[in-house]
Homo-oligomer: 273 residues x 2
Amino acid sequence: MTETVAPPHPFDTAVGLTPLTAGLSTGETNPAYNNMVGPFGGVTAATLLESVLKHPERLGDPLSLTVNFAGPITEGAFEISARPVRTNRSTQHWSIELSQDGTVATTATAVFGTRRETWSSTEITMPEVPSAENVALLPFPEFIAWAQNYEMRFVEGAIPDLESGEHPDSTTTLWVRDQPARALDFTSLTALCDVFFPRVFLRRGKMAPAGTVSMTIYFHADAQTLTAQADNSVLGTARTQRFGNGYFDQSAEIWGSDGALLATTHQLVYFKD
Amino acid sequence: MTETVAPPHPFDTAVGLTPLTAGLSTGETNPAYNNMVGPFGGVTAATLLESVLKHPERLGDPLSLTVNFAGPITEGAFEISARPVRTNRSTQHWSIELSQDGTVATTATAVFGTRRETWSSTEITMPEVPSAENVALLPFPEFIAWAQNYEMRFVEGAIPDLESGEHPDSTTTLWVRDQPARALDFTSLTALCDVFFPRVFLRRGKMAPAGTVSMTIYFHADAQTLTAQADNSVLGTARTQRFGNGYFDQSAEIWGSDGALLATTHQLVYFKD
């Protein structure tokens, strides 16, 4: 009798780390999650979070994460150092760096903590949209490797084609999940927060160099809420407040299929005309 | 004939640093900018930014700043280390730590850079409000020291009094400037991004322990735009997306008196019931 073991999900392969010492681990870029230049930022952010999640001194679950894309990550091996800067009774603050050959490519800070039940209220409302199965699947251009690992169903603001022309606003709303389907956890939620193509493409109706400079995630969901979400699609909606002088911001929300607000996330993005 | 030298503005005293070496400086908490417990977070954030602005290797102007309030700052001296982690052609990434007696109290990352003219568009619109001089000045309770250094004119969502009761939403919009008036710069804009009292006070109509855990600022204004603003009031507007399990987020915009979007800013805040 032979046992069959399912191969790991491509996402788990991409964010996998090998611990060297407590706080130091190595990983490798994964071509399946490449962007046009270098790896998809969402997977880099998820890998940095993973380095804390796997740290033996980690306290609780992620509350916030800020990732700064300081320089290009080249294909191949990298090293991540994750340092618990301060541990309090219910929160823990982390400083994280990803390096290649001794050069820092990405920095991050994270706040982890234990949650307790309190009064709660979601003040914003989920966009009114058809359910995921009633929205057409839109394949992404094949040369964008990472996007092949996501099932995207655009409700508004799909990626423009060559004839699109300018768009009146920068809002994209889509149902999205890993492809093949994978149960949601903090690591995959982190990557999903970066799933929106650059807002300037949509507004201007054309592609041009653009890349995230800094990205912040506030996690509203606890582990139980993520478990309930299972492998259903989440609804993401993103927009820009201002474009100007080579940079634009982006704010987005990620909603669970049952209407729970899972995360709010913000970026500063570099762009060229 | 005697020369009279104007005393420094209280804000400049509060954020003032004494350099020890390149990247290491000392400062002192200032009782005039105290919050209920410890210093006003906005002044702490501004002081961290100041440590980069005064660093001899600094490139360009602030693009983004994230500050993590890891633990309490006690009254007295502190030390700030600011390290340029990576310097590119037009951007520079910083890691910053504030310590007291060898214990880290605050961490931060910042992105600085040189800007160049590009296509620009502000997609959100400034709230329609009366001009600052047509909105009544509202004095803050005297026991909140830092607020005495700001001239606040609330358009909506003023700080609740004991009889306020619950509020339908968490939005506050106010005209605000330093008191006495002071020309706006990146340092004072940073502090102004934290000028909103905790949103949970407004929603629930009562005070309870609350404090910022992590705060991010995206600077949309360049130095020229700040100079044009001079010492006029800026319009700040802030709201929460979700309160729950001991934390809430806050997103805010800071507008110049002439309608230019100066900064967008986000926070994760701890609260008790």
